[in-house]
Subunit: 340 residues, 2 copies
DNA sequence: AATATTGGAGTAAGCGCTTACCCATCTATG
DNA sequence: CATAGATGGGTAAGCGCTTACTCCAATATT
């Protein structure tokens, strides 16, 4: 049977209070007693029960992580970083896949609440803020990652999507492209809107406009992305470059292009977003807007942990800046866009 | 303040025992009382504390999942399936990245134990069975996935790696290749050894042999894989086909080949393993040995949950069969292997 | 009508731990 | 030498829940 604090106390000839104090390094305990208790603990292979101590009003040392889908490279890398950092700080992380469903999200949050997790990291792109409001009302430490927090008082770590959109667009314009296509996914729509805002801003500055029919949306898998890309690429006057909102979609676009016999990047330039594993794997290697995923993960975890530990009182919003990573999927424009 | 069972009991004018009974659907409770209590619970927004009930000797409804690295597509897909199934069954999963380190693994297991997780799924490829032995001794329900259990009495779900190795080799031989190269990673070495055993078996049957210098190992990233592949490909008489033990490595091989000016698949055939996202993304699309990842995930979860619930007494070993998925990275041999 | 059943609900003892508070020594102080 | 702090450690009351057991009243049984 698993030894409890009672066994240790008995063996050591002290009270359970004393044992508890040496475990937690609280109160005043003599050198000798402490060492003795420690020895007994080791001898018995005693491990304090997190459950019991949690009941006494302390922490469970657990944080909940909500993401749309861990199988998505972006989120799996993020999850890895968060787990790493959490582990360093003594927290375990329970993972929840919401598929960006408001119902699932709410259900998970309720469940995590019952489990008394110490805090929650929201990495979903849901526009609906109901769950978030609920969370804040309940005073569960909460932090947002890769998601905007429109006018809400909550710790947030995200990238500047607007800037990301600008960077991508500027890159394409510099290469001479003026007829641009865009592919949105839907996994993190608030981010995507911001990026599109960046796009529009740059386009307007350059007296260009983005044609609504060159924007396709709702693609979650590479296959769907390919199908959607087909729509854009088979138009009368197809874009010469496509900006996909994540690397997975960009790969879908490339598949479509290849199937249509277009050469990459000579006939069609493609730029992605995120700079996940997929960007370096793809052929040609994908030019993309890099998110500092590792930093997003560690910083949001730090924020949450500080909040949990009560080490900080003011909420903050951290905005990391994306950067352009040029690889081989984009190049200067070759064919004349007029070919009606 | 969060309502407790006492608040509900008071409001409903019953004892906490009664409330507990309606929550758990145990004991005998009258229709009216039950409905009344239920109503009060809803009204108060009461949520039973998992922590408290866990302390009373029940379950925490949590399982621990140990994998080398969730950022690895294979494991992230697996993790997704396990979380999905776990969630369906009412369990949350806490994720642990061991990087295949025996120390980290042991530490995680100890920690999970303190947390009183109901069970543990081991998806690591560590050869050392110490942790596993420990786990079994402690009677923590444990299940292995994608990992062998040499002579141990533990629930296991895995694929037939030997068969996988055979399938890959047979495919290459059928295409006319006789000079084969192999690239191991190290993430799951027991599996890889089995696969290699499959390879050797087929080779021997065909009066062929595998040259030790055509086997490279220890590659964890795509970059490392590329470097290692270079070694094989720049030999005097390089293989005409390479069998990589996972899709990531296969991509590294393709990168190397491309850098050396080799055409894929005409000059060099590449076959991977796992059939993850990476296999369909890559260019050319990767021929690979498909693991039924979804089934691995759900079945191992089911096994563990049954074990936890005490619904079964005999341990079992489930072996799923891999299959060959032919895409475009392999083709019949073109150049003559003799070119010394 | 007397007894046996059974349905419905309460009592109270813990689960393993934390913590506010109390008590006994021991040493430094005037 | 009496006393005020330190110092070291114990007491006991919970935390929110489950469950074995008890008790009572309403039926069913003979």
């Amino acid at each position: 049977m698993k030894p409890t604090i009672y066994h240790v106390a008995e063996q050591a000839g002290v009270s359970i209070a004393t044992v508890s104090k040496v475990i937690n390094n609280t109160g005043r305990i003599g050198r000798e007693t402490r060492e003795n208790v420690l020895a007994i603990m080791k001898e018995l292979g005693y491990e304090p029960s997190v459950v019991a101590s949690a009941l006494t009003g302390k922490h469970t040392n657990t944080i909940g992580l909500l993401v749309p889908d861990v199988a998505n490279p972006y989120f799996s890398e993020l999850a890895r970083r968060i787990e790493d950092r959490g582990h360093e700080k003594g927290f375990s992380v329970v993972i929840c896949n919401t598929d960006n469903g408001i119902e699932k999200e709410a259900e998970y949050v309720k469940w995590l609440h019952r489990k008394q997790v110490d805090g929650i990291i929201l990495g979903t792109g849901i526009q609906d803020n109901r769950t978030l409001h609920e969370l804040l009302k309940q005073e569960t430490p909460t932090a947002l990652v890769a998601r905007d927090s429109p006018s809400l008082q909550v710790d947030t770590v995200r990238i500047d999507d607007y800037l990301g959109g600008r960077l991508a667009t500027e890159h394409l314009l510099e290469l001479g492209h003026t007829n641009l296509g865009f592919m949105l996914g839907g996994l993190n729509s608030s981010s995507e809107e911001e990026r599109l805002r960046g796009v529009r801003s740059v386009m307007t500055t350059n007296n260009l406009s983005v044609c609504e029919k060159d924007i396709v949306t709702d693609a979650y898998t590479i296959e769907e992305a390919k199908q959607q890309a087909m729509k854009i690429l088979t138009q009368a006057q197809p874009p010469t470059a496509i900006f996909a909102m994540n690397d997975l979609l960009a790969n879908g676009v490339m598949k479509a292009a290849r199937e249509l016999g277009l050469r990459l990047p000579q006939d069609i330039s493609v730029i992605g977003f995120d700079n996940t594993l997929l960007a370096s794997i793809s052929e040609p290697p994908l030019t993309t807007i890099a998110q500092p995923i590792a930093d997003l993960g560690t910083q949001v975890t730090d924020l949450l942990v500080q909040e949990i530990l009560g080490e900080k009182t003011v909420k903050q919003r951290i905005v990391l800046l994306p950067s352009l990573v040029v690889r081989e999927s984009t190049t200067t424009i070759a064919r004349t866009p007029v070919q009606k």
